[in-house]
Amino acid sequence: MAASAPAWTFIALFLPFVAALLAPFLVSRLGDKAAWIIALAPALSFLHFCRFLGEISAGEVVTGGYAWAPSLNLSFSWFIDGLSLTFALLITGIGTLIVIYSGGYMKGHRHLGRFLSFILLFMGAMLGLVVSDSFLMLFVYWELTSIASFLLIGFDHEREAARRAALQALVVTGAGGLSLLAGLVFLWNVTGVTQLSLLVHLGDALKMSPFYLPALFLVLGGAFTKSAQFPFHFWLPNAMEAPTPVSAYLHSATMVKAGVYLLMRLNPVLGGTPAWEILLPFFGGVTLITGALIGIRQTDLKLMLAYTTMASLGLLVMLTGFGSPHAIEAAVLYLVAHSLFKGALFMVAGAVDHETGTRELPLLGGLRHAMPVTFAAALLAACSMAGLPLFAGFLAKEEIYAALAAGNPRAVFFTGAALAGNALMVAIALAVGLKPFIGQRKNTPRHPHEAPITLWLGPVVLAALGIVFGVFSPLLHAYLSSPMASAIIDEPTVVTITTIPHLGLPLALSVFTLAIGVLIYWQLERARWLMAQMLESLGPGPDRWFDHMVTGLVRFSAGLMRIIQPGRLEIYITITFILVALTLLVPLFVFDELPDMPAWPTGLLVQEAAFFVIAALGIIAVLRAADRLTAIVSLGIQGFAVAVIFLLFGAPDLSFTQFMVETLSVVILTLVMTRLRLSVSDHRPAGQVVLDATIAIACGLGFALMLLKSVGRPLDPFMTDFFDAYSKAIAHGANVVNVIIVDFRGTDTLGEIAVVMITGLAVLALLKLRVGKRGEG
């Protein structure tokens, strides 16, 4: 296995992408049953990563990869430790269930293949993100998850709300991605390494750097937008416009945890400083409370879950930044437990929606008889979310309270935040997992039936895992939580918490949380009304601000466009030539590089002098010409005179080219003039004439001075000697100019003729476009 392991890992990483390509074909052949076959891809990846459990739990890391651009120290390389492995297993494991679930949920949808393709694209990106070793690879995958998320949120692109939500998510996470890129560049510049595996062992080097704070802010910008931390949280609830499998997978179990992943990954190098231990818990705590409070206000099952997801992400960020090993262990346990129960609850919400036709909580009730299996899964997941003993959620909650309740004022504050947030989440867990199924049967838009196996398999497996992990906690700790916590803290850590309740402060806090949660659940209507009042009084939130920002940006760029792209050729040309003149003249004057006055030529032959005079006469003719055509032809006189001068002074190739270019410019300019339907002669107001003349003279003067300056210096004969010596000898050509063009500098010429070709195509396209428009009009 050792020899082929890297190849297998490579295949496991790319299997989702391959499946994404094949999905549309399979679906068009086999219909929605194809989901079962497509689910094999993530399942195989999952099994492959399972094989690493032994090595990782023994404290080893798995690395591998392929050189990409060795000269730039870039590689496609992976680095799998406890943290990466836990994420990889969640991504592929839940991904398998989600693909199966999608087959049932989107049954009969005409774009099911496309949908599965996007889901798998996301899966591949997310998997790559968590195993990436190199910064660049991490960033590319990070952006790819944002793009996949955009495609999935906007999947129902015919609805405006979905389009808006998709764009919003892309703008927020995309901006965060740029911030992350800048942060990574900082990390790279400060430490000189481009690989996470090297970075995490650098110790305090980064924290001592003066660039620590900018780097931290930029990285947090990436992590907070991705993980929907306040005040960037607004895109996550809006992302619920996506079909439910997407909400269950991207926007609860995996993608939104990418930010948390990044923080955990960088904890050894960035963590432990005052800035880290203030910013993370503060923003995490605010997000936790905000999310839980707004969640209570909702009546849509998915939105309730979305806001609790936001709250949970806040809790994870708070724990990651809290700064004690216990808090990290709590974060690890909560992350795993949350992925399981939240994924399950989202899928339950989707199943209920699918079977009854509504997700509105007040319209649902008494579904336990109609949907017993779904009910069982919902109840188990809700119990884990509420943190009842025997469930994985309980382990997490005990560890959270054990970590936070340390006695100092700071700890009391955050314990309070955690308590309030958790209590609200207990209430929401019961509202989502219990309320639709008990009580009086209500009339729903559709007559409810038990969901098909595709729809209940996922929730049942995830909910069951929640209890399995709770009961067999040593197993969970040995293979997942201890290695993951060790990776985050960067020293061996053993998680020991079990589901058997110990008397103590954490247990008391847990019981207290449950009690308040049940109380809120009991008074849910009133709590919702209270929250609605409160939010009303607070006025518009960041969601509206985003709209204002976007409209403002559009207005600003439209205004800017009107200034810099007025659409009038004279203005473009005027500005271009003013800049040319400034570029030529300013450095000459500023750096005092003006050329010496050239000596009057001696020994000039009559015919040579005559052509200088002809050139000057050509220019005068241009200026004096009565109509445009005469002016163009007169310009030709000047050009031909210059060509003859080239010929007289020993540059026949240049002269030839000049002749041909002059001829063709006169022909083409004439043709253009006739097409532009200009008036025969040129009528410019006097002011315009003065301005244009000034610009023209300045440009001419600039070129003249620059040429004088460059020929004023003694010519370095190196190149001339080289070409004289080797042109005939190794390139078999006596014409040095041509040999340079086609042989010595042949690659340049290849580029130039490509430009000529592209210019031709562009001119052709512009002319054709214009003709077409006229024809229509």
Partner: protein, 148 residues
């Protein structure tokens, strides 16, 4: 412009100029000339023909669309560069052969085919622009005549 003299002389001038352009192209390696200049001469020749007999006549005479000629030239130039890879030398290295044709030793090289590629690109691209400009928009031709 559309005089009898020009219309009568144009085919002869064009033919001579095209012949001369090939001569300039081929002598370019040792005497003044080369693909760029040759291409410009040929493009001028076709422009004269176009002015005298209209763009349709030029298009019929050269058979292919001028951009296709330019494309073929770019392809030929690229292939001439890539040929050296087969011989195991770096991109764009010149390869020479000296076949004996009718008792005369004729030096042939990828450098020459590269130069022919340059020639074709220049002819094609410039002729395409000139022809497009000579093709007057249908509903605007009367106005154009008036403004001349």
């Amino acid at each position: 412009m559309n005089t009898l003299i020009l219309r009568t002389a144009a085919p002869v001038i064009t033919a001579l100029m095209l012949l001369f352009s090939v001569f300039v192209l081929l002598r370019g390696h040792n005497e003044p000339g080369g693909g760029f200049i040759g291409g410009l001469i040929a493009a001028s020749a076709l422009a004269i023909f176009g002015i005298a007999h209209g763009p349709g006549a030029v298009q019929r005479a050269i058979r292919f669309h001028p951009m296709a000629i330019a494309g073929a030239g770019l392809f030929l130039a690229t292939m001439s560069g890539l040929a050296s890879l087969i011989a195991g030398v770096p991109f764009m290295s010149g390869l020479w052969v000296y076949p004996d044709i009718l008792g005369v030793e004729v030096p042939l090289s990828t450098v020459m085919s590269f130069d022919i590629g340059v020639y074709l690109v220049v002819v094609g691209a410039i002729t395409a622009i000139a022809l497009a400009l000579e093709t007057e928009p249908e509903n605007g031709s009367a106005h154009d005549e008036g403004s001349r």
